[in-house]
């Protein structure tokens, strides 16, 4: 039902414009043609800290996005330089030789001869407290399966999750579900089993404004749906709150994990803007304000944002 009316308006507008319109290629007369350094680093508690370094690309350039292989990188943890060894693992990904812990304050500085220095800092938040989780499995919604040769049963899984939000500060959360999937391998022409994040749908009137009419008119972003659902404790601060969400277990293999993250503020804003960017379709771009990707890197583009995760397996 969504956007039923929107194409109607748009067709009328675009038709009338097209009748008298004239399109031509123009020269770009702006000044933002230089590539910038891009840092993507999301250190997570109890996982090796990595950073990926690339260059941005001028939007009219035919080049592919390049990686940075010759970066000089230094890190600080809680104001001190740890005894770490940094290794380039290829594809612009560097292992920074340190495993962050909740409460760590991290600083990352990257220098290249061509682009100078960029730097950013973040704090690893405390782990989220999940006090209860239960799930129900409904096979009445049996779904189709693939690939043809592998039969995988499926149904709708509904999860009831209770988190205990600490009252001391603003907390930022991300909810995800991961499971193994069969994915086509272009190199071997076979199906491999890899872990991916599933699209989940959260049904929660407290955390989200569940707007019925939004489904008929308007574009907007779907905050309560996607492979990562983000929310803050603005409306549940200091409370124990139960969230209900569901997802299809179509094509799932092995154990399913419910992943509850606490994010640093910067990472929350980055993930939210990244999601909004991906949700703008061609129609929306014409009529909605463009989305600015949130960044916290000085001297470049990108994010250094910390997170802590509680992973709960469900059967």
């Amino acid at each position: 039902m969504k956007k039923t009316f929107a194409p109607l308006y748009l067709t009328a507008i675009l038709l009338s414009l097209a009748l008298s319109s004239c399109e031509k290629v123009i020269e770009f007369n702006g000044d933002e043609t230089e590539n910038h350094m891009v840092m993507i680093s999301k250190p997570q508690s109890d996982s090796p800290w990595k950073v990926r370094l690339t260059e941005s690309r001028f939007f009219l350039s035919p080049d592919t996005i390049g990686t940075i292989k010759n970066a000089q990188i230094s890190i600080e943890v809680n104001g001190r330089t740890p005894n770490n060894i940094i290794t380039h693992q290829g594809n612009g990904v560097y292992d920074l030789g340190y495993t962050p812990q909740p409460g760590d304050t991290l600083t990352l500085r990257v220098t290249t001869p061509e682009k100078g220095t960029m730097m950013a800092g973040c704090r690893i938040p405390n782990r989220p407290v999940v006090s209860n989780i239960s799930c129900t499995y409904d096979t009445s919604h049996y779904y189709d399966y693939y690939p043809d040769t592998v039969e995988v049963a499926g149904g709708r899984i509904t999860v009831k999750l209770t988190i205990d939000d600490p009252a001391d500060a603003v907390n930022y959360y991300m909810l995800r579900v991961s499971s193994a999937n069969l994915n086509y391998n272009y190199n071997t022409d076979t199906y491999d089993t890899i872990r991916t994040h599933k699209n989940i749908s959260v049904d929660d009137n407290v955390l989200f404004d569940m707007d019925a009419t939004e489904e008929i008119f308007g574009f907007g972003t779907e905050d309560n749906y996607g492979d990562a659902v983000l929310f803050t404790d603005e409306r549940i601060n200091g409370q124990s709150h139960t969230i209900l969400f569901d997802f299809w277990d179509q094509h799932l293999i092995g154990t399913i994990y419910v992943e509850v993250y606490t994010l640093s503020r910067d990472l929350y804003l980055y993930e939210k803007s990244l999601k909004a960017t991906s949700q703008l379709d061609e129609f929306s771009i014409l009529f909605a304000e463009p989305v600015q990707l949130y960044c916290n890197v000085t001297g470049g583009i990108g994010i250094l944002g910390g997170s802590a995760v509680s992973k709960i397996p469900i059967d």
Binding site: S20, K24, T54, S56, F217, V291
Partner: protein
Amino acid sequence: MKKNLLLLLLLIASAGAWAQHTISGTITDAKTGETLIGATVYDTISKKGAATNQHGRFTLTLKESKAVLRVSYVGYETQFHPMEIDKNQRLDVQLKGSVTLSEVVITGERVQHVESSQSSIIELPVEQVKSVPVIFGETDVIKVVQLLPGVQSGSEGMSGMYVRGGGPDENLFLLDGVPMYNVNHLGGFFSAFNSDAVKNITLYKGSFPAHFSSRLSSVLDITTNNGNDKEYHGGVGVGLISAKFNLEGPIIKEKTTFSISGRRTYGDALLQPIIALVAASEGMGDEKVNAGYYFYDLNAKITHKFNNRSRLYASYYMGDDALYAKYKYFHNSLEKDFMRLGYNWGNIVGSVRWNYELTPKLFMNVTGAYTRYRNNLALTEESVYLRYTDSYTMGFNSGIQDLTARADFDYAPSPDHAVKFGGQVLHHIFKPETSSIKVSENDEEDSYKFDTIIGQSIVHANEMMLYAEDDWRINDWLKVNAGLNMTGFQVQGVFYPSVQPRLSGRILFNDRLSAKVGYAYMTQYLHLLSNSSISLPTDLWVPVTARIKPMTSQQVAAGLFYNVLDLNLSVEGYYKYMDNLLEYKDGASFWGNSQGWEDKVCMGRGWAYGVEFLAQKSVGRLTGWLGYTWSHTDRKFDREGNILNAGRTFPAKYDRRHDVSLVLTYKFNEHIDASASWVFSSGNTATLPMQDIDPSEEGADQRYPYYYNYEVPYVSSRNNYRMPNYHRMDVSVNFHKKLRRGKRTINISIYNVYNHQNPYLVYESYAYDFRTGNDTRVLKQLSIFPILPSISYNWTF
């Protein structure tokens, strides 16, 4: 103590009242009886004067026993009236229109230009508005106003107005003193004001007098014709897209008059054969298609003069846009499909005003008004098979209604004071969108029915206003207009009060040169939810809420005003600070749904400053103006929870550095006159993602490119790109001929005469590169109006 104070007040009030007498009256057109707004009455002995108000009335209190009153108005022959003043007197003057436009025709407007204490005001003669060449030959008041310095149009062809860095919802459009909400037809390509019905146009950009309130950036005050009180006149006109008529005359000679005018586009009628041809060529012989679009507007006014002291006006405006489509398909005698779409939107404005001269010094105007904007959509689909019918119906309704009661008083207690005071009570009824969905499905085995209405409840709000202002002539060279406007807005249990001081002053160096300065504090309680750049019928007015505070602005303006030869010259600088402005959040848009709109917007600040130059010539064979504006408009949204652009300052969407407009009309003789206009402006700003980045943590995995190989656009800053400059020239020629009965005018206009492709939209796209054989990414510009010639025929009697 109280008694002493009272005595003191009485003494002050009566000071100078001895031997003072008041001359009051009405200035009208000798031929039509139409009241003249802004005409000047000037005593050449005492060097004191007054201007007529919106009802053509003036009051002049003099101490002297003799006076020679010079009565003048643009385009009319000046009259001199010597008078012995030994008592309060009435002087009703009928001015004769000038044919020759010679030196004798000293214009009242020219005197006002230098003499008035108000700055940032532009009066536009309607005849000049009608002579400016326009698109499709349709004379358009707002398009002409857009050519004035300090006023910018939005996108090409749009009727949106951006005045001194303000937004399109910050302009108050008054039709006979009543606010009008949607002033556009056809998505903004045409305005709702039919120039045949208009008598006077005044634009206030700053230094607002205290009797105006409720918008931040401008007031466009439009007064319609009362109607000829002596004989019948009228006319018909046929243009490329519309036909129009007007008729006016006395119902009771020199007592009761009427004026009615209307226009309607007929593109929909012309479209029907084309639709039929296309349907036939597409092999749709069994399918009946009918679709079209039209707009119309109708202005009507009745004026009754009880006596010289009392007049009653009843005016009415109705305008609608309508889009419709019908589709029928008879598969066979048993099976049929229907589709019907009806979409209409428009205004109704009605008002009744009563003028009464309570005493020669005290004039009263009482107004009762109703205005309504509504927007209705209905879509129905039906499939009939045998006795089973499936039907789907969707509806959408929204709108706003205002009921207004207002009283205004003009009081001239002494030769040096012109006091205005009054009040207004306005009841808003906001009807946010209501959507209805009705589904009915039947077949042999099953039936399904769904019927629901989704929407918000009606919101009532009250807006109160009291004002008082005094135009005080302190001495021969210093004049001050000081006022106070107090408003209050009550909605959903919240009350927002606002005290808005207004002050402007004029220093007269000589009778040709003056300097003016003004300050105005304004508050606005309504917001327009609209899509980014196009004016759509789905645009929705909403009131402030507990979360969304009223917008405010403070503006200072100062300038020099000079009359030389036939030219009115002015140069004005301004600085405007605006607070609680709204901008959409990243990714947000409005599409006819106000539900949760507070979550889609951010509140922030803005400021604008600039310099405007205007050289205007209103008399002689050659008339027109040259306007230039240098301006700067920025926004900053850095409050917690309302952060945009990382809290950094960014240029407003219509921030343009330079705006030039040149409008010239030349009257060769009685049979031919020609006009040309040329506009140039720096390009609008736009937000372009000029960099792409790869946001993945691991990088592309070539084994599973579908999952991991993606790029996202990176926007460095809001409105980070400036579109190419805009410029355009339009020309128009009128050929007049006197007929045995009446006069005919053929107008030939060419819009965008040198066919410059102006930017409407700039976007990233792909183009085929013949050298590489690949598609390459390019920047494209969409232009919508190439060279457009048009012709129209008008006959008047």
